[in-house]
Symmetry: D3
């Protein structure tokens, strides 16, 4: 790690300012408006008693996620996917990623035959939207589970969440491994990686892509180290938020 | 008008608390997060130099709008229209209404060959989403026009907006004409009407529907009177917001 | 009202020649081919014993409508919505309007658990297609209800229709309020309004839009008066048609 | 041929009553409302100066067709293809058949760089809708060509149509070859065949399908003979109609 | 028949080299990779115990087919139908043809309440893809039926197939009737015909189309004769393949 | 690494039998039918002179890929995406992965303004379809580039491919890191990882997902080591295939 200073004044291993407004929505069973710098994602959790037909009668619950972006979240306007009549590949891919990340810390038996859908809508995008979405979705999910417990859909002692989960992007820009890339860095990165890490520091997802030059094992290790540290910071913020601090 | 007190403590002719956060989005050329009570709509204006092909070379600009609702804006979750692969009838109808309302106060010649698209995304819904959308969209539109002027896409002296525009719902509930209906009143209304009124007090749209019993001329007149007064209040708030107060 | 003479020789308060061919289709439970001048709409009513799943077991019936236009109904050909793969906003909006208009005069309890779908297909369009559709749909609906009664799906004494319903367009052209606008007038109208009125003279829908200049209360009142008189004439024709005259 | 009498009183080699109302639509460049018994098809021809991009600059025109059925043309209601969001296989297949049938008698060089789209909308269906459509479409096409000639888009002496074209269904029911099957016969036919034949008696399409038992050469020959005679009758009616008789 | 020699060295009445690799797929209940010259079609049969809802409880089975082409099966690449979001007219038409052809030799009562779906995917296309598909599909179907018998879903003595079925294209090129047209001949044919013929020599489908000049009875007879002989050869190859020769 | 023996007799670090049939398709500019055990993927490369509009005039080429699976590639039949009318999330995600993998070794400037589309159609699926697709696609791509060179669309000395690329799956099953998982292992894996590695041994993609328990750094390192060795073997096979051995 060099003592490089980035365009926004951060050091290489520093997160952008992160805020989580828990309970932003008054309609959903759990919600969080999370921001990673200028990236803002509204995460809402919808709790339904019962499961999809394919899961009925197995004594297990289901957690899934949908990711989407408002048309003018980005610097120039994109057509709405509803108007185009199809959900794009990138949207699908991120929705699937968020769902897998959350399910990695959920004991679906303890959840019982209940379904929780997490919607992650990007209101403003400046890089790292999927990692902010996962980090905020965990908070909304935790609150929805407590809502379900209060309503007696979930047993009082069921430990549905056996760990927490957060995510962050890392990348190599001009040869330097950096944490939490805003758009301006992300678009220039030679390698771009998203890490989903549990509160205990284990990997759920490691998704690294060489956008420019392919990368070697040493670079990979540097990125993993940055990401694990970043996710630990996010975990602490999640914990504090859920503790009402 | 009786001295009736409503469930939320308002009188029959009182608006819910209305707030407009101008410039909420840092990406769009104009934006406003407007709330009518618990109804919250994010309005963003995207300015593009140039017009759609069918309008090219006529020396006129174009203003259009798209309305949408987040899946968990409402009390129970709705499927995303992008996932269903088609935009619903209600969504289309409201998008068209917003576009017409805004164009009613725009001099498209003065706008020049520029296009402004207003996205109105309902983040939380509690009745009156289309009227909040129109009222907020006007603020985003006004700012986008000033952005275009600053960038010299619009002439310094062109008066693009020759009036302002706001909208409000009115309805008859238990025989009483009421202003600005939240969901709990709207769902019980015998007659439901949306009024779009210019700053000068002229009608742009009068859309009244008997949900229960058909209505007569006297009831119609009472609703129109309530709505005109409500729109005048909203106009004053728009003016103050744009003046930076 | 001035003594103005319109391009087609009518006075301002005169309907175009209106004809209703009841029972035009031999396949449907009720049908009417209605013409308002050159506008021709085929309305067919399909009666099904039973209701959609969401209404099952509530002891109530359902009436809905679908509006569509043949590709060459208009002066130049439009692409088919089936070929485009999506139903346009205007089509959706009018279908919803027709359904609401009909339901406003139907006692769904008296209808019992039966469904009536009214298809309104515009064979030729010259302005006022939605108002002709509503006026003709009422005749097809009335016949379908009698069919259901004859088949004993509806009780012999059930009064399903507690009123009749008709619709007409009105508008301001060159400052003059006019009744029943053909395309040539409609396309020039400053204000365009569709009125849906019951046989007893009560409003079901009032949909006025300023296409050019916004309008004031005095103009609105003039339009309402014209429309109520026009709908009363249409009601008389509906009554005569259903009486077999 | 036996002296069999059919349910509707016809002999085996007799057409249903056929009528052609030329110019039924006042909007299209050519039109015909054709009926084969209770089957009624509205054929409209839309003439456009110019050709699709893929044909530009080749000095040739284009003729194509679209077939569709109103939802309640049949005995029970079908969902609209526009609402389903896709055009069904049968619809596509018939549209393609009509287009091929018409192009078989058109000299596209003589047509010049003009496009004619024929819409065939089935208003009521009782068997033989595709054959009625082809027979009526020819009349609409012929009128659209004369319209194009009058407007000087087509040379005064260009012989665009070098033959006429008509179509009829034939089939084997209870072992008997029959001409022009209504629905009640068609649904019971062992073999069903559609023949498209030019005015000079040559085949354009021979489409025979064994719905029940496969058929042999002798049966095929009997069907072809019936169909050729039926198409000759239709040709005479087309000729008389176009001559204004 | 003249002693004409074709571009690929065949006589007018000669098939291209035909091969059938039975059991090419290890996943399906029946499969065949069939080639007619350079045309290669993978046919797989999927056996399901049970029938679609509309057929339940009638004691009958169902056989259906789906045809598709890989995007680069042809000489230049076509867009995928999944990407376009709709199945084209030609694809639908051929899928329906294959299904009808197979059902013509199946006793659905003997099949019992079982469903067999035959997928015919064109891996490489050089004319005659639909006829190769039908011919190969029959082999896959026969094996799937034997699979069902082995699994006791079909009675040991049930004769499900009461005949075999094969198909071939014929056409008139430069005035000569030819058998089994590759793309280079097919694209120049004046008349193009697909024949589906049972093992006993009866017609299931006769689909002849004049692509250029309409054809007369004498030409039709010549084509039928060629096709019947070609289908007899294909039947012999099917029989040998299924006998394990 | 233990001396574990797998269900199919392989050791933990052994690939399944891999075969590449280069030039399987005679229509495409490059093609390969690749098999990893029972997984069979047909890769075809389509070369077009010119680039998509958004890339025009930049002196660079474009390489993209589409992945799809035949409906009966798997053990039970899946509905076709063309019939469902939308491309699924998994399909999109894999198409994007293949495209990125190939572009990582292509010098788009050296390619010039040419487009190569690689279609990867899974004919039979038994785990590892995306990794087989990438490995086969590279061979098809290399041949398409040579085709373009022979046709002079690419300069004689342009080095378009500056490295090769292959891919393999690795995973942890019952606590053991394994190479190249067939379906039976993949469905039980605790962690599943796809590695895309260049001929020189650098990473292009590292996509690891905890399907069961999250994984730690030591496990990740074991998987990376296995995958790098597997990709080196595949690279040698690619090289030999392209050398015509």
């Amino acid at each position: 790690m060099t003592d490089l200073v980035r365009a926004d004044g951060r050091t290489a291993d520093q997160l952008r300012p992160v805020t989580i407004e828990r309970g932003w929505s008054t309609q959903a069973e759990g919600s969080a408006l999370i921001s990673f710098g200028n990236t803002k994602v509204l995460c809402t959790a919808s709790f339904t008693n019962g499961v999809p037909r394919w899961l009925t009668g197995k004594g297990k619950g289901w957690v899934t996620a949908e990711y989407a972006m408002l048309p003018r979240a980005t610097n120039s306007r994109n057509d709405r996917e509803s108007v185009k009549g199809r959900v794009g590949g990138r949207t699908h891919e991120i929705s699937r990623l968020i769902g897998r990340a959350l399910r990695a810390v959920v004991d679906t038996k303890a959840l019982g035959e209940n379904t929780i859908v997490i919607d992650c809508d990007v209101l403003q995008a400046d890089g790292g939207t999927r990692t902010a979405a996962i980090t905020g979705a965990y908070v909304a999910l935790a609150d929805a589970i407590e809502w379900g417990r209060a309503k007696k859909f979930i047993g009082q002692k069921s430990q549905v969440l056996f760990d927490s989960v957060a995510a962050v992007s890392v990348g190599i820009v001009d040869g330097e491994p950096l944490l939490d890339l805003p758009y301006v860095e992300d678009s220039r990165a030679e390698t771009d990686m998203n890490l989903v890490v549990t509160g205990r520091g284990l990997f759920v997802e490691v998704q690294g892509t060489a956008e420019g030059a392919p990368f070697d094992k040493r670079e990979l290790d540097a990125l993993l180290e940055l990401g694990i540290a970043g996710c630990a910071e996010l975990r602490d913020l999640q914990t504090a938020t859920l503790a009402g601090e």
